[in-house]
């Protein structure tokens, strides 16, 4: 990927991320967050993670952000106007963020691992197919690899269902419990006088 494209995508992601934090109107924040997630999905694609990039857009920029906007409009939340911003909280937030970024940049600058790039660690698709180990033993994956394509979704599916079958079921149960929990939480209590 050309460096300019990376910097453009990083600027989109971080710029809209900054707007989420600074915007006074919650609708602006939510729309900025959606744009931020689209930039992030593009960064995922630039890392050869096409499937993750796709579900980032489908789940985050699609479902989650629609839910956020729906709640903002349902509750009819106005922009906070005329209120004094909490100065101590803002200053401490900026200080913590700057400290964290400084620390991460220092650590990244001192590790050899961070010098890996797509140029010096290229994907070896044909070699992976010829070795025929692990996922490449499957015919459909091996064919894609021989054709020089990265069968991203197939490889994730192979890993998920080979090594994390139980975890997938746990996550399925979590989604079920979440659905039931949301229904219980949003149900109005009838005539008990308790807080809904």
């Amino acid at each position: 990927m050309p460096p300019l494209l990376f910097y453009l995508l990083a600027a989109i992601t971080l710029g809209f991320g900054l707007m989420v934090v600074t915007a006074r109107n919650p609708v602006t924040s939510a729309l900025s967050l959606a744009s931020c997630f689209v930039g992030l999905a593009a960064l995922f694609v630039s890392l050869d993670a096409y499937f993750i990039g796709t579900i980032q857009i489908l789940v985050y920029a699609g479902a989650v952000m629609v839910l956020f906007l729906f709640i903002i409009m349902l509750l009819d939340i106005k922009a906070e106007e005329g209120k004094q911003p909490n100065l101590a909280a803002i200053v401490s937030g900026i200080v913590v963020a700057v400290l964290l970024v400084t620390q991460i940049m220092t650590v990244v600058g001192h590790t050899k691992l961070a010098e890996k790039s797509p140029q010096n660690t290229p994907l070896a698709l044909v070699e992976a197919a010829s070795k025929a180990e692990g996922a490449a033993k499957l015919q459909t994956i091996a064919n894609d690899l021989k054709a020089g394509e990265l069968p991203d979704a197939k490889l994730i599916g192979f890993t998920l269902f080979n090594q994390y079958g139980f975890h997938i079921q746990v996550v399925g149960l979590l989604l079920l419990v979440g659905t039931v929990g949301v229904v219980v939480l949003s149900k109005r209590e009838k005539s008990t006088g308790g807080a809904a």
Partner: protein, 105 residues
């Protein structure tokens, strides 16, 4: 040349932005959005490590499986969290953190 370090720094900056938002803002909905941003920043670091940790010439898909689980759990968390915020708004008529002082001694 774009290296893993570039991706890690972008991920760290996005995480720091989210953290600053959680600390500085008082609208619960925006705090919640910042939490989502921090989760996504962690995902970016994971995908970066996955791409540059080659096993047999392919990216390490264990990390991407973890990202898959993170996104699923985050989606469930958003649904439950927003339901809690709606319930909170019903009893307090506000989504500001200052309005919620019930547990304060």
């Amino acid at each position: 040349m774009i290296t893993l370090g570039h991706y890690l720094v972008v991920s760290g900056m996005l995480f720091a932005l989210g953290l600053a938002g959680v600390i500085a803002r008082r609208n619960i909905l925006i705090i919640y959005m910042c939490l989502e941003m921090m989760l996504s920043a962690a995902n970016l670091a994971l995908v970066g490590f996955s791409r540059f940790h080659l096993t047999n010439g392919l990216p390490d898909y264990t990390a991407q499986s973890l990202v898959f689980f993170t996104i699923t759990v985050a989606a469930a968390e958003v649904a439950v969290g927003l339901a809690i915020i709606v319930a909170l708004f019903r009893s307090k008529q506000s989504v500001e953190t200052e309005a919620i002082t019930k547990l304060q001694g």
